[in-house]
Subunit: 240 residues, 2 copies
Amino acid sequence: MEEKRKRVEVCYTPGEYHYFKDEFEIVVVIDVLRATTAICVAFEYGIKSIIPVPTLEDALEYKKKGYLVGAERKGQIVEGFDFGNSPYSYMKDEFRGKDVVLTTTNGTKSIAVAKDADTVVIGALANLDALTEWLIKQNKNTLCLCSGWQDKFNLEDTICAGAISDALINTGDFTSVEDSSIAAKYLYLSAKDNYMGYLKSSSHRRRLKNLNLNEDIKYCLTPNKTSVIPILKDGKLTKL
Amino acid sequence: MEEKRKRVEVCYTPGEYHYFKDEFEIVVVIDVLRATTAICVAFEYGIKSIIPVPTLEDALEYKKKGYLVGAERKGQIVEGFDFGNSPYSYMKDEFRGKDVVLTTTNGTKSIAVAKDADTVVIGALANLDALTEWLIKQNKNTLCLCSGWQDKFNLEDTICAGAISDALINTGDFTSVEDSSIAAKYLYLSAKDNYMGYLKSSSHRRRLKNLNLNEDIKYCLTPNKTSVIPILKDGKLTKL
């Protein structure tokens, strides 16, 4: 019998994207701590667009042209820039209706890696239900692309990817065949009742906690703060 | 306070080994289904040495020289070779005291990738307790290198790596800091009471089941069939 269900799979790092890329019409880029959460928040608070750029050099170019530019590396705002990827920094009136440029350690790199896919959307726990509802309606082969940490696996993105997969598979219209997807789902099912507890020993949580970013972590691990779905069009993120 | 515990970490695929390699004195190469299980069995049944080679071309060269040579690709014995990586194929008197050459889809590639580490040993569920006991005695920084499937994550190797990490961490002398290791441990803890059930949807189990290799799978997922620890010395595996 021919398999009529669409696939939903999980790729753990941008470095492994080339093993997956040709098989999926939709790529969901995930960087829970904190880029993709911050991007969702920014649109919730009325930002007009976000131009994600992979390097600091690109970001500086835009700054010279007068753009509002955010830059984060290793959890901290880069010197010379006004904001990084804290969700709280986007809850300001000054961003309303503006085009903003952003570069981060992992998230904006994943967006760059996936940019040639038919459709690229932004996923986080922050927009989980709205996103999965939309993905189910599209009914296309969907890849959850985790940003990881410096091209290594990370737990929070994987759990978010597992949550998305689980919701899609539960409709009966999607299936996963890759072990990475099966493991992501298992990890999500163990984590879902207590994300903070489950992630307490995760490397990125430790890293951000050491930078006194515990409030950011709590925010990023709280599902469904917003129902926006940011989408990439011509190199620019806008609200779907 | 300085961290005095040694690290035990998990690398999911040979392709990611370069992110880890400089920090570990011992590398445990894992390919549960089936190369590293078969290698353990071979030594249990009296083989003298195994020369792991990454390519079929290398394997053919040895065959011309008169060696007993095994070759497996995508779960099947390669045409022109006498055996592959079924553990059962090594339970024969003809191998006793012999030097054997082996190439497999994933396992022998991981050995090749790790060959320059101070110490390379072979791990599987088949030699779990003996191996972890030995690793604990060594008290060195230890990397579990999963072979994966064609450079993608696989579940059975990750669970075996999680089992090794868990045993080492439980002594209090080891710690993990990477998210890949934390996830491997979580996956092991959920899987340990029923490996067959947990892995029933895994891609490699499906693949081998389709090839009527269910008996092999059962064997490979049964812990502690043997207490041998194969070790790599000068390009050759021998019994420690």
